[in-house]
């Protein structure tokens, strides 16, 4: 009898060991250092290890997005130093799709179940992570383009309604007129900038934001190419040039795409047209009551440009299920997402996580985000990203006419390979 019990004990031990060694008990995550900080990953790692004894979570940092490209070489060879990669936007995942280097969350990993439904997410965020009809990227945090404002400057200029709330610009003419009122020059020196618009490296995003907000759709008749030759965009470009020529719209982002957010945090700019998280960043320096955010003209109805960080899991990873658990339990937890929102102004991706938002502006931004459209997944999207800014900057410098600018933009769009990967 004793021998039988011994045998059974050994059998049970072997089975248990085999079951638990199906996946190595390590989850390795890599992200940029700001993502590690703003997602409270160190705390998340500790909590996950505490909740699952024996599981280790390793955090790594990568210097900038171009270093992830080389992971394709490791992944093609079947090895990977990481199990989860936090990428800056789903755009960065496209490079790995052709060679089938990523797990599809819905088709391979059965990510969506009764506890995590597609409808729990903000629709735009999830849609943006779909490439070739497969969910390759799970969103984690998000931002949307809007007008960050300095409330104090609005009050001083009298641009408030009878309740003391800042007036919303309903058209781009309004934006220009507000900027003119808010712009202050003393002794030939600008002491308060009316407005700064993101015209630098991220101009491609500003263009998509204003196109969508003013027309409801960035595409033209064929539903595939972005359309620039339309009266709304022509009007916007004209207003931009007028504002730039008069100095009420600052060109500082052209040389340094971060100049806008720095100047805004320093309390020197009244309106900053850029990602709608900048007002929140400035609250530390300027005071929570002095900053707010307004929708771009038209964006409450049509949406704007939204983007956000998401996660991908390479096929070479040996612990994908553990990674999925980490994502669901930590990254998508209400606690972490609300904390990120209230501390750093990065918006949650699930509808229910806005209940404990400390600021009231987040609700309207969430609505705008929900109405925004997914970023085009052209093969040559990166060419659009790099080539749009120089064309419009040349126009703002007065070197080419409006017609020539629209012409060049349309030609650029024609020259892009718009196949989805």
């Amino acid at each position: 009898m004793k021998k039988v019990w011994l045998l059974m004990l050994i059998l049970v031990m072997v089975c248990t060991t085999v079951a638990f060694s199906a996946e190595p008990k390590v989850v390795r995550i890599t992200g940029q250092s700001w993502q590690i900080t703003k997602l409270f990953l160190e705390d998340a790692a500790k909590q996950f290890s505490a909740a699952h004894p024996g599981v280790k979570v390793e955090l790594k940092t990568y210097a900038d997005p171009s270093t992830i490209t080389n992971y394709a070489i490791n992944w093609s060879g079947g090895n990977t130093p990481v199990d989860i990669v936090i990428i800056e936007s789903p755009q960065f995942a496209c490079q790995f799709i052709t060679k089938n280097l990523l797990y599809s969350f819905d088709k391979d990993l059965k990510f969506f179940d009764s506890k995590t439904k597609r409808s729990d997410f903000v629709k735009f965020c999830l849609d943006d992570g779909v490439i070739n009809n497969s969910q390759y990227v799970i969103p984690v945090i998000s931002e949307v383009y809007a007008i960050n404002i300095n409330k104090k400057m609005f009050k001083e200029a009298g641009l408030v309604d009878k309740d003391g709330n800042p007036l919303e610009p309903k058209t781009w003419e309004d934006v220009y007129n507000f900027a003119k009122k808010l712009h202050k020059v003393e002794n030939g020196k600008v002491v308060q900038q009316g407005a700064t618009i993101q015209w630098g490296m991220n101009m491609y995003a500003t263009v998509m934001a204003v196109l969508r907000a003013s027309r409801g759709d960035i595409y033209g008749a064929d539903k595939v190419s972005m359309s620039f030759n339309n009266p709304e965009f022509r009007n916007i470009l004209t207003v931009w040039k007028k504002g730039a020529d008069e100095g009420v719209f600052s060109k500082e982002t052209i040389a340094d795409y971060n100049a806008g957010r720095n100047s805004f945090s320093a309390g020197r700019v009244a309106m900053l047209i850029e990602s709608g998280s900048r007002w929140f960043e400035a609250a530390d320096n300027l005071g929570k009551n002095n900053v707010s955010v307004l929708p771009l003209p038209g964006s409450m109805a049509n949406g704007s440009y939204a983007f956000g960080s998401g996660v991908i899991i390479p096929r070479a990873s040996k612990s994908p299920q553990l990674a999925v658990q980490f994502i669901k339990e930590q990254l998508l937890s209400g606690k972490l997402q609300t904390r990120t929102l209230n501390q750093y102004g990065k918006m949650p991706v699930m509808m229910s996580h806005y209940k404990e938002a400390a600021a009231s502006e987040w609700e309207s931004l969430k609505e705008i985000m929900d109405k925004s459209g997914a970023t085009p997944k052209y093969r040559d999207f990166s060419k659009y990203m790099t080539d749009v800014a120089p064309i419009i900057q040349t126009y703002l410098d007065g070197k080419i006419s409006l017609d020539e600018t629209i012409n060049r933009l349309e030609n650029l769009m024609k020259s892009l390979d718009k196949k989805t990967i």
């Binding site: 250092s33 900080t37 210097a63 070489i73 490791n74 720095n262 320093a266 020197r268």
Partner: protein, 276 residues
């Protein structure tokens, strides 16, 4: 060379102005590193910190113990690179200058061509190569490409230096019965001290501050050099106070080395003036 009177004063005034021009941004960086964020971002810009703080340094050094690894990696990579470069360039420089052999000019051109090629275009093939050789994320994996980037120009420097040494010295060594190797070791090298000092300075500061190879080939904390590690505190955009602290931490070791080895370096560079 001594200057007298007015000429001396003009020269000194010019040098003071120039020193000012070069030092100003460095001083600005150092002062900014001691400022609070709200002083940096205020409407009244300041040069001197009005309310000095060590907050930025605390922020950068929060990663604590890892810095020891980063500095260690940088030191190993830089010293290894400098040693290999100095030896190899001293040998080949002499060969290109004084020893005629077939195809000398062609090989010289090939060496020169290597350094004209933009690094960004070969970095992916280098990554593939190191991946296959399994030397990614190792110190040797960074020493080798770094030597590659500084070796050609160092060879050039040594070649120029050796070409400037008069033939008489060589011939007298010959008459004394020295073989080529002995000639190189005992006669040529001591006379080329300023060239060696130059090569060491050149390779040191290029390898120490090298960023592109470092960020691509050393993605793990254990192998990262300091030049890459310091940029990890960037956040979404640079906090200028932190940037100042990062610059100060990045330049401290080379400056310390310069101060410690200044005597030898100056002696090496001045070697020509002593002669004759």
């Amino acid at each position: 060379m001594e200057l007298k009177g007015l000429a001396k004063i003009i020269v000194i005034m010019l040098l003071i102005t120039l020193s000012f021009f070069f030092l100003l941004p460095v001083l600005f960086a150092i002062f900014t590193s001691f400022k609070h964020q709200n002083e940096i971002l205020s409407t009244h810009l300041t040069f001197w910190p009005h309310d000095p703080t060590l907050f930025n340094y605390k922020y950068v050094l929060e990663r604590g113990a890892k810095y020891f690894t980063y500095y260690k990696n940088s030191i190993i990579i830089t010293l290894g690179g400098v040693v290999i470069t100095t030896i190899l360039s001293a040998m080949s420089g002499y060969a290109f200058a004084k020893l005629p052999f077939k195809g000398r000019d062609l090989i010289m051109l090939l060496v020169l061509y290597v350094v004209t090629f933009p690094l960004a275009a070969v970095i992916i093939p280098i990554y593939i190569m190191e991946y296959n050789l399994n030397i990614l994320n190792t110190n040797i994996g960074l020493i080798l490409p770094n030597v590659m980037t500084v070796l050609p120009f160092s060879v050039f420097i040594m070649r120029g230096v050796f070409m400037g040494i008069p033939k008489e010295l060589e011939e007298s060594a010959e008459i004394d019965g020295c073989g080529i190797f002995r000639t190189w070791l005992n006669i040529m090298l001591p006379n080329a001290r300023n060239g060696l000092a130059l090569v060491m300075i050149f390779s040191f500061y290029n390898i120490w501050g090298e960023y592109m190879l470092g960020k691509t080939l050393a993605t793990e904390d254990s192998a990262m050099p300091i030049s890459v590690a310091l940029t990890l505190v960037k956040g979404e955009n640079w906090n200028f106070g932190v940037l100042g602290a990062v610059i100060v931490l990045a330049i401290m070791p080379p400056i310390l080395m310069f101060i410690i080895f200044q005597k030898h370096l100056v002696k090496g560079l001045m070697q020509g003036a002593v002669k004759g």
